[in-house]
Point group: none
Chain length 201, copies 4
Amino acid sequence: MSRTSGRANRGPAAADENRRAILLAARELLTEQGGRVPLSAIAQRAGVSQGVLYRHFRGRLDLAYAAFEDNFRTLEALAAQVGPGRFRVLWDTLVVVTLASTAFIELVVAERASGLPDDISVERLVDALTAPLREAQRDEEVPASWTPADLVLVLNMVHGVAVSRPGDLDAVRRALGLVDPSLVPADLSEAALQAARTAST
Amino acid sequence: MSRTSGRANRGPAAADENRRAILLAARELLTEQGGRVPLSAIAQRAGVSQGVLYRHFRGRLDLAYAAFEDNFRTLEALAAQVGPGRFRVLWDTLVVVTLASTAFIELVVAERASGLPDDISVERLVDALTAPLREAQRDEEVPASWTPADLVLVLNMVHGVAVSRPGDLDAVRRALGLVDPSLVPADLSEAALQAARTAST
Amino acid sequence: MSRTSGRANRGPAAADENRRAILLAARELLTEQGGRVPLSAIAQRAGVSQGVLYRHFRGRLDLAYAAFEDNFRTLEALAAQVGPGRFRVLWDTLVVVTLASTAFIELVVAERASGLPDDISVERLVDALTAPLREAQRDEEVPASWTPADLVLVLNMVHGVAVSRPGDLDAVRRALGLVDPSLVPADLSEAALQAARTAST
Amino acid sequence: MSRTSGRANRGPAAADENRRAILLAARELLTEQGGRVPLSAIAQRAGVSQGVLYRHFRGRLDLAYAAFEDNFRTLEALAAQVGPGRFRVLWDTLVVVTLASTAFIELVVAERASGLPDDISVERLVDALTAPLREAQRDEEVPASWTPADLVLVLNMVHGVAVSRPGDLDAVRRALGLVDPSLVPADLSEAALQAARTAST
DNA sequence: AATGAATGAGTTTTCATTCAT
DNA sequence: TATGAATGAAAACTCATTCAT
């Protein structure tokens, strides 16, 4: 599953590709083996030397921060688009992205003592959700009582299910259904997750 | 928060006290510093030597298993009692115990690759819940549609909130309320958690 | 030149001996190979594992601090003794110890950015020198114009010669003679240095 | 303190400027942070790429050798001039240059194991000093007993003070005064040092 | 000729686990 | 039986040096 063939120096031109390969490898290995996979294993899976990993990311946590940043950007881009049903799209993506990022969330949670960087915050999510949620409530697609913060809470719950039952998408569906049927994404498949994983910047 | 005072050999009489002190220290340190605290730090906080820690627990995961076993026993004892309202008591305890054991759950989840021992399983929880839940449904205290497995799912969700927002009991209350108001425990306080923490065998 | 024979675990009883062996090995290797010898090489020469080195000393600088502390104690003990000629003894020892500690001084100097711990200071030397110097001046053994701080300055100069001409004791003698003939120690031999090296706590 | 502005290829015209910028950056960083600054940091401070640094200097030690060579040339030029008081000028410059080059001296001393190149030697200094010293002695400006080698020894001592008390020019003055008042340079100021630093080739 | 990314070989550092006392 | 030192096997991290562009 190594991305690049040999270990030839492909030169600076490959820098961006390397960065992406590292993030992807991290996602995979963290998911497969848990938060303590050696960084050297991640570098290896990405097909780069350890030095390259350290050039791109200051350390383990930085990998997670970078993934979060990517996610935020994806979501903010979605939220910025207007049109009917954008809440639906945004929410479904949010759930899928949360599931695809379980490993990174765990990492950050495990190192909570270190404190989060400013640009990784619940507020950012709340901001992106506010307008789309209001629209959806106006159109009576979702209960009027919900706040953006409630939705973030639901994502936290989704994460709880994801870590407790790795790979069990049906459990996630049932869990969301317990809160409200309208929260269950239309396409919650392994393929959708895989797409979200590969899409990282 | 008991620490053994000196370091004289206090004989087997101290063994139990040591065991409890170790589990408590582990809970504290895992919560404070995340899953990677050195075992030596746990031993130190517990006021025992590393040798003693190893005498009681085979390793890091064993600490979590032991805590789980304790929890299971507490809950099964509760479930065995009959009488009106026993579901209420059982559920409230389940939530509190889940929150008090966040650190150990994280540990096990992080090492999920290692596989769980047989006596730590969802089934055991389902078994304990089945009868009390049926009673509560008969008395129309909770929706008839719920299954014991659904409740375990809710506990998973609670765990998700707990790790995402450490110490925020209000978030837990709101989250449970989103599922169903009847799921919010009557006494969900730091004091209740502390009691659950100290209660470990 | 390894101090201990094999690599058997000689148990806690050897802890003190290990500490000493590490300091001695550090002195030797730093002198032979400069300030960048791998700590692993020091551990090896001392006949202990790397972990033992780290148990005794937080890192490279700690080795130097420990050596300084040892030196200070030796000197303060000498300064505390009374009797005629104690300045002579103290000064000669000071020069020898400075030369025997060249490697550690270089280390600390190289890492000056890190700042010194409080208990490693010029003042401590000045304090130890004050009374003995006063006596020597009363007895007209040394020029009345000198201050303890001047003597420390002379030690700094000795260090300059030591690093610039490693092993050249004659250069040290000539240098001290340029300042004042009375500053040249009576016994400034490789044997005296070796004794000072081995004497570290 | 010159930095190349952009990063366009400015052609061979920039080569000299780069060389100087690198040496200056090395002086600064070695002084600030000790002998272990990464070469990449030096290149960065100099405003050039690592490749350029390597084009000019084979490695870390080469930086020091180059600085020494520069110093030697300056001094030999001074020594070649005749006229009354040339010893004075030469000596004062020697002291200033020694202080301005502390960082490089430390570097070479730390790597003493590697051995010096032939053209960096005490003899070269002795040669430059011989005639001027003889004149000064004939004019009774300095004690007749001194040899050129003694003066080199005094420079070694100056270096010892410089590393032990970074930036403390007064200590240097006092130290030289302890040897002989005539050795204290007339202008021993930070400005004079700065001039010597910038003067490199 | 300049840039700065990539390599890869150290070095440092950390712990789980063992074991002498 | 308890203690805490020692081991040793990872893992993290750092840079000098090379090299594609």
